[in-house]
């Protein structure tokens, strides 16, 4: 009896494999295989990167990058022909995001992560989803117009960001004698600026507009200065996983070239957004228009 049923099972499996072979021409590997096997995908998101990836007042993750990430998830689900795909959300910080992607806790992270050559040694990046310039936020009446005005002053930036690196470098190279404060997140950086500990806050311009939208009186603050660098944000995924990267890239390219991305942009940067219903009024830059027109995964440095 047992032998019979075993043989039956083998035959059934054999037939099934024959039938499915043409559909799955290629053996799945890496992240795609993991997603298919477990029926779940683990997404990394940020907690306070407004308007890219953050919690709204109901503790739901929302934002520009998050919306793009969900589009990618839809594409993965279609690609793997899954009827149901469990989406697990895991909050990440700028300090732990690379490790969490590497050790498999997070399969895909779309937030406000800059694609640069140093990080490419550890993780892979998708097509860029945004381009920012690093600038300054200061009080309207502070008299700070550009970076040279910061000499000898207290300046705040967020720890672990490219702005921190650029600011320290500028301080050394031009002997500006700035006192640089590295706060642990953007909210704390802004608090440092607001309480008068620093005269200016250097950060990605889009995030500065995001902090401005949270301020008690947005009109007290202004974003100034020549951008010190341009940076491309990308979604992080594991290195050397070309099959998965291709699915993610194609999904993003489709959203961007179809004009859908522009609508998503307008929703997060030109219209009132949660939690306070404020409008960032951050016009679409030519750099972002360019990546929408011809999606690519190039880093700027």
């Amino acid at each position: 009896m047992l032998k019979h049923s075993l043989r039956g099972a083998f035959v059934a499996a054999f037939v099934a494999s024959l039938l499915s072979a043409p559909v799955m021409a290629q053996e799945l590997t890496g992240t795609l295989k993991k997603i298919k096997d477990t029926g779940a995908i683990s997404l990394g998101h940020r907690e306070s990167s407004i308007p890219f990836s953050y919690y709204d007042d109901k503790q739901q993750v929302i934002g520009y990058s998050h919306e793009l990430m969900l589009k990618v998830v839809d594409a993965i689900k279609a690609e793997l022909k899954l009827a149901k795909l469990d989406v697990r959300l895991l909050p990440v910080t700028s300090a732990n995001r690379i490790t969490l992607v590497q050790n498999g806790s997070v399969d895909l992270e779309c937030g406000s992560t800059t694609n640069n050559t140093e990080r490419q040694k550890q993780v892979g990046f998708s097509n860029s989803i945004f381009v920012i310039g690093t600038r300054l936020m200061t009080k309207t009446d502070s008299g700070i117009k550009d970076f040279p005005d910061l000499a000898g002053k207290n300046v705040v930036t967020t720890a672990g960001t490219t702005s921190e690196r650029l600011l320290r470098k500028m301080n050394e190279e031009k002997q500006m004698k700035m006192n640089i404060i590295s706060a642990k997140d953007h909210g704390e950086s802004f608090l440092t600026l607001e309480t008068g500990r620093a005269v200016a806050f250097m950060m990605d311009d889009a995030l500065l507009y995001g902090e401005m939208a949270k301020a008690k009186r947005a009109s007290d603050w202004v974003v100034v200065g020549t951008p010190q660098s341009y940076e491309a944000y990308g979604c992080m995924l594991r290195k050397d996983d070309p099959a998965f990267k291709k699915v993610v890239d194609n999904a993003l390219a489709k959203v961007m070239t179809s004009g859908e991305a522009e609508k998503i942009y307008a929703k997060w940067f030109l219209q009132p957004i949660p939690p306070k219903g404020l409008n960032l009024n951050f016009p679409l830059s030519t750099a972002v228009q360019n990546i929408y027109k011809s999606p690519n995964d190039k880093a700027f440095d």
Binding site: S94, A95, N96, I98, T99, Q102, N103, G104, E118, R119, K121, Q122, N154, A159, G160, T161, E164, R165, R168, K169, N171, E172, E173, N179, I180, I181, S182, A183, K184, L191, T195, G196, R197, A198, R238, K239, D240
Partner: protein, 246 residues
């Protein structure tokens, strides 16, 4: 797991062009951790000894104030206390004084806030050790001191404290070790001590494992040194006839 190990990263010059290697950053952080912890520990010992003694005196008012002190600093999480000292305190000071503090070099602000915070937090814990040391003495010792004609402060000074302090060396070792580990909390306000430098290294080099392993080893070595130092002290001040004494 696909990870590129690169231990040579510590010898690379930093990306900010400040004539230092990443190892140099780690040493800077280590010096900051040691300086912060030791200065906070000295304050904590002095304050803790005073408050601990006050908790055992017969005067109900003094004992009450000391108890309140201990409960406040022992029961508020360290991180919250740190934020109170760093963010809230300058706003409560008269505006001129608060602004003057906020305009000083941020490293000085961060160091002072951290030192005061760690010192007061630890002093509450030291006070409890001192109190338990004093209470563990047989009541006969105090009575003998008073019967010999010592005043109460003299009895504390010459009879009870010399005994109590020697008895509490082992639990104080734990507190001393704790202050080094607790100092890592101060990285949250931007003080570049050991833990913060480790995190910076991750940001700058994208080599998280090397950085965290180096930080772990540094804390471990630091605490091993402290432990052996305290063992030596313990062995030299043991009270003969008491537990562990010869």
């Amino acid at each position: 797991m696909a990870y590129n190990w690169n231990w040579g990263v510590f010898l690379q010059p930093t990306a900010t062009g400040d004539d230092s290697t990443y190892l140099g950053w780690m040493f800077y952080g280590l010096k900051m951790t040691i300086g912060l912890s030791l200065s906070a520990w000295v304050i904590a010992l002095l304050l803790g000894a005073v408050v601990g003694v006050l908790r055992t005196v017969p005067n109900r008012w003094l004992a009450g104030i000391a108890t309140a002190y201990v409960e406040v600093f022992r029961n508020i999480p360290l991180l919250v206390q740190l934020f109170l000292w760093y963010f809230v305190m300058p706003e409560l000071l008269p505006e001129k004084l608060g602004n003057a503090f906020k305009q000083t070099n941020p490293i000085v602000q961060q160091f002072l806030s951290s030192m005061v915070c760690l010192a007061l937090f630890t002093s509450a814990r030291v006070a409890e050790q001192v109190r338990s040391g004093i209470n563990s003495l047989p009541p006969g010792q105090k009575n003998a001191g008073l019967a010999l004609g010592f005043t109460l402060p003299q009895t504390y000074r010459h009879v009870m404290l010399p005994m109590a302090v020697r008895l509490i060396v082992p639990p104080l070792t734990s507190e001393f070790l704790n202050i080094f580990k607790n100092s890592a909390v101060c990285s949250t306000i931007g003080l570049l001590e050991l833990a913060a430098q480790g995190r910076q290294l991750v940001d700058y080099t994208a080599q998280p494992y090397e950085s965290f392993i180096a930080v772990t080893v540094a804390y471990l070595l630091l605490n091993v040194v402290v432990m052996f130092g305290m063992r030596w002290v313990e062995a030299h001040v043991r009270v003969p006839g008491y537990i562990g004494g010869k």
